[in-house]
């Protein structure tokens, strides 16, 4: 099932949630949606029998550098063998996205990592805390942001070389 047909199915159901569908993007077309509608779209994509996207391949946070953060969902269907790309863009000052942890359990750790690295808050996530960085890492500093400054000291240890 091609990406454009999947797009049609989503458009028919969630008309207002769609921001942009880029069919001719390099390598894979993707669909950008509004941050507060992500969970419903994902549930629809998973429960629809002939879409059956039951496998979340990868959920990655991205810092686009010009003050917008993004979350990219790569999903795949085991039954039909087709794949789809969903994108969400939020601004840096209120980076809130709906959590899809209830749809795919593998999103749990991916979202915690996106929060840990970019500071994207996933509302509805059971326990959103840092996963890779130490728990007492300073609150506002998210390492993978483009404007990240390495702290001079951490617990008495000099960090830069």
């Amino acid at each position: 099932m091609q990406a454009s047909e999947i797009y049609e199915r989503i458009k028919s159901k969630f008309e207002d949630a769609i921001v942009e569908f880029k069919a001719d993007a390099i390598v894979e077309p993707y669909l950008e949606v509004k941050p507060d509608k992500v969970k419903d779209i994902c549930e629809f994509l998973r429960d629809e029998p002939d879409l059956a996207f039951d496998y979340l391949m990868c959920l990655s946070g991205v810092d686009y550098g010009d003050g917008t953060l993004g979350v990219v969902y790569h999903i795949y269907s085991m039954k039909h063998g087709h794949r789809f790309v969903l994108k969400v863009k939020v601004s840096v000052n209120d980076p809130v996205v709906q959590s899809v942890e209830s749809v795919w359990k593998s999103a749990d750790w991916h979202e915690r990592e996106a929060y840990d690295m970019f500071g994207i808050i996933f509302e509805g996530h059971p326990d959103l805390r840092r996963i890779l960085m130490p728990y007492d890492w300073p609150e506002g500093s998210y390492p993978l942001r483009k404007d990240f400054q390495v702290p001079e000291f951490y617990n008495g240890m000099k960090v830069p070389y």
Partner: protein
């Protein structure tokens, strides 16, 4: 060196012979702590496997820090792990030695420039006796590091280190 360390003022025939025997005992049965962090741990396992048998030097992997007297820091020490490495080092019984294996443990290795979470060298947390360079070092390089450590232990002495003479200018 535990009970008798640095207890004696001067060297005499009895001390030097006792020193040699105890140094020989300590260097020929260095019990290693099973403590692997990253890729160097795989090379450490290969060193204790059949091809480059580390047990030929009397190095037996022990699982608890209490019974180990050689800690091989094999891999990248991150900031989150640094306090653990320090605590493990403190739990070891006194005559303890540390081999820093691999570039990451020596000075942060490939992660020294942009590694915000990597500790730049384990010698910032615990004193290191021998640095084994390599990324990861060959098992033979680790064995050579152990031989170098054995040389260092052979030269250790019970006598308190003589401080360098202090030069006082003439009035």
């Amino acid at each position: 060196m535990g009970l008798l360390d640095k207890r004696f003022e001067s060297e005499n025939i009895v001390i030097t012979t006792v020193e040699d025997v105890l140094n020989w005992a300590r260097l020929s049965s260095l019990w290693m702590m099973q403590f692997g962090l990253a890729c160097c741990a795989i090379e450490m396992m290969a060193a204790s496997a059949s091809h480059f048998d580390i047990m030929r030097f009397g190095v037996i992997p022990r699982s608890t820090p209490r019974q180990a007297d050689l800690m091989i820091v094999a891999g990248t020490v991150t900031l989150k792990m640094a306090s653990r490495v320090k605590r493990l080092y403190e739990q070891m019984a006194e005559p303890k030695y540390v081999i820093s294996m691999g570039s990451c443990a020596n000075c942060g290795g490939p992660y020294w420039e942009h590694g915000y979470h990597v500790l730049k060298g384990v010698d910032r947390v615990i004193p290191v006796d021998v640095y084994v360079p390599g990324c990861p070092p060959r098992p033979e390089a680790l064995l050579e590091g152990i031989i170098k450590l054995r040389e260092k232990i052979r030269r250790e002495s019970l006598v308190k280190k003589k401080l360098p003479p202090v030069y006082v200018e003439e009035k």
